[in-house]
Subunit: 488 residues, 2 copies
């Protein structure tokens, strides 16, 4: 029941043809009918270059209108979009492209193809505008969506150091959108400002909600606090998705002002929010809905209503309507592994049964985070999964950085931990044991070829030995203490 439905964009264009789907800063204003026509036309051009049903197509782009058109076009051809983080290095991208069995890679206007020579020799790489110059081929476009079909693959790193491709079905995205609307309502004049990267599920989800809800969006290509504040105030924005660092800068920029009454809320993802920031938002009458989620949950799965924000400081909130949270392997204090369940949770990782098996207990997704539920059922996360570092909303898995550093000749041991940072929330710091008299810049030069800039350690600290416990596990909390003491 409900496993098949009309194609979302086609249906929405039929129901709300003249409603604005996307506005941009350059003055574009695209209705749902126009978005449908652009996407269908683009699908026919993609067909001309050979994209066909079942293909896995990489999308490598920063936020831009044509990126959204491309994603819809790929659905019309019944292909799976592999959403690539445009901040990754070529080496990181090549791993994902290979793992995801990608054939074509489509790139945005701000991707400089010269930087991706190896990718170009191994894959059919075309810019969005290259495709735009093609003629249209008559081809069957998808009319019905099977909710069980894969729609996107988005990579996330993990404890193993190898990124894993999270497969989102249409159903995962559908239920994510529906659950969100049951949480915060769905006002007929909503306009959601999107500045989070669309290559992350949180940014992508805004544009899927748009067609499912019939909701207007405002696309922002890059974040800059004062510009975004002006847009929120002048363009009747009602909802904005932010990460902590953005919220901080938006509030700092607001000074005496606040948003119009029509503004509804900030949806805050990607890490916890300091109490001070919540109080500041409150003083400016800005409602902040904190959320907890990950790529595997197709964006938020647990949220904290603004009404509860100051009563439940530090809590992530309660699971969305069709979702559940459970704490497995509780200790005496009720703290255990946070597990979640619901129709927005992925069925598993692409071609990676082992990781899938490890990540699920029955139908419960193991988040790897430690936490507990209070007497009212509110979730508190006390320790992030696998020492996850969240920096400006981007996830950095220490194991991935450690894995890269270990490849350097002369490095004997390494541990990466998160350091508190005023601007980014956290930044990575590496503790390195070595024998080759390496300098910090040697290590960074090597890493720059391997890792996206945001993952590079802010500091390399050379030490003689890493603190390990009896079972030989590195005691990272000791390193964090060392780091704090050193900085005082």
């Amino acid at each position: 029941m409900g496993q098949v439905m009309p194609h979302w964009l086609t249906k929405r264009a039929s129901l709300s043809p003249n409603k604005v789907a996307i506005e941009t800063e350059t003055g574009e204003s695209i209705t749902f009918k126009q978005l449908e026509e652009m996407s269908q036309s683009y699908a026919r051009k993609l067909s001309t270059i050979g994209v066909k049903k079942g293909d896995h197509v990489g999308v490598l782009s920063f936020n831009e209108l044509q990126m959204i058109v491309t994603i819809h076009a790929l659905t019309y051809l019944n292909t799976t979009a592999v959403m690539l983080n445009a901040r990754l290095t070529e080496a990181e991208l090549l791993y994902q492209l290979n793992d995801a069995n990608v054939t074509f890679v489509l790139t945005g206007k701000d991707i400089h193809l010269n930087d991706y020579e190896n990718m170009q020799s191994a894959y059919k790489v075309l810019s969005f505008s290259d495709v735009m110059c093609e003629v249209e081929t008559t081809t069957d476009l998808l009319e019905h969506i099977q909710l069980t079909d894969p729609m996107t693959i988005i990579y996330t790193s993990g404890t193993t150091g190898h990124p894993k491709g999270v497969v989102h079905t249409y159903g995962n995205h559908w239920w994510s959108a529906i659950s969100s609307s049951l949480n915060t309502g769905l006002h007929t004049d909503d306009k959601w400002l999107a500045m989070l990267p669309i290559f992350h599920v949180g940014g992508l989800s805004i544009f899927l909600k748009s067609v499912i809800y019939g909701m207007s969006t405002f696309l922002v290509e890059s974040f800059e606090a004062s510009r975004v504040n002006r847009l929120i105030i002048e363009r009747k924005i009602t909802i904005v998705s932010v990460v902590t660092v953005m919220l901080q800068q938006l509030l700092a920029d607001l000074e005496q002002e606040t948003y119009p009454n029509t503004f509804r809320y900030m949806l805050l993802g990607g890490g916890s929010c300091p109490e001070q920031l919540l109080l500041e938002a409150k003083s400016k009458h800005i409602r902040v809905i904190q959320s907890y989620g990950m790529t595997e949950t197709s964006s938020q799965i647990v949220t904290l209503a603004f009404a509860d924000a100051l009563k439940k400081i530090g809590s992530s909130g309660k699971p969305l309507f069709p979702a559940e949270v459970n704490i497995l392997h509780k200790d005496a204090d009720g703290i255990g592994e946070v597990c979640v369940k619901g129709p927005m949770v992925t069925n598993g990782y692409y071609k990676n049964e082992r990781a899938t098996e490890e990540s699920f207990v029955d139908e419960w997704l193991r988040t790897g985070d430690l936490g507990y539920l209070d007497e009212d059922g509110f979730l508190y996360v006390v320790d992030r999964r696998t020492d996850l570092i969240i920096s400006g909303g981007e996830n950095i898995y220490p194991s991935e950085v450690e894995h890269a550093i270990m490849q350097i000749d002369g490095v004997l041991d390494v541990a990466v931990v998160g350091q508190a940072d005023n601007k980014w929330g956290q930044v990575p710091v590496a503790f390195v044991v070595q024998v080759n008299n390496l300098k910090e810049k040697d290590i960074l030069t090597f890493l720059k070829r391997k890792l996206a800039t945001y993952k590079l350690p802010k500091e390399i600290i050379f030490i003689d030995e890493l603190p390990r416990n009896a079972s030989n596990k590195i005691m990272k909390y000791k390193l964090r203490q060392t780091d704090e003491v050193r900085r005082k």
Copy 2:
């Protein structure tokens, strides 16, 4: 995916414990937490009298708060509620109770048990308040809803004259609620006034939306235009479900006034709306959303936005987001049988495979209505199914009335048609061929024992012979003409 979810009321009480779920005219104001407690307590009392998982329990009541509590309580025991039209005669009810394998019947405060002696001897009949006096039995209450499980059975008549039990799964009701929210939004301050009978799916659906959305409702036990207008204006009502006759009276009563700006829309079901009435609503700045649906579609499945109402006079609109409409067996003008599909459509009739088979072509439900789609995809219904008469929002199937009249000694032939009526939209009129010199009152006296009052012919017209075509089918349109000529 998404076939299991937390029990709706339990989940809603967890997410929105202090939000008002139901207000009443007598000043009651029940939060979701209270509604959960009342329903769970009532479930434990029902368990005491022997109601158990899998039972079919009749609910015979006019609108009242305890009726809603009872419905939720029945879900906690994993039983199926058989919603009985309280305007039916005992004979009509006994047919449904028997057909639906009912064991218990629970009755509301306005049901006079003396009128149901045969029912009492055949079934365990208890009033809501009888049950309230019981002690609570410790019993397992349902924690998770299986969307594929049956939730309600509601009878609808049809061409055969025998009412058929439409089985609604939890999923049918869920998707109906979700589809409706995608159509008209879900505002955080919505308050839906419910005066349609809860024993019909349109009235029931308001209270299921309430727990799924976390939306406040205002329960009205009986309709009276000036009282309801005062409630709408003074109690911050944002949405009201109406049938045409109610809308007519509400508008007539409004005179110089209109509703506050916070009022969002009237959802109009049960038959088409005269243009004059739409214009009158428009002049009073009241948005009317016309809808098309039936018991089988768990309320609305096609709706006409108010923005299109005057551009597409006479149209029923477009199918809701996950739904589709199709015209089968089209004639040269594109007119054919209206068929609908979607996750809110029933899987079939209880214990009636033949009727189920006849009603579905693949996954398309045959509505029996004739209609066409215009070039923009708007549905126009040109002829109601099986000469259906819609009187004050109640469906009257001529075949059912004809069947009853044929049981009278001396009646040789009969045909029932709808006559236009200023107050009710339509009323039934019977054309009778007889040999026993029966009088109108003889026939009505007999029928009163068999049929609900609203189904009784407003007039009995005795004629010598019914007009039949070559294939011996009664030409009802000729009777309607006869009737019109006669009344001029």
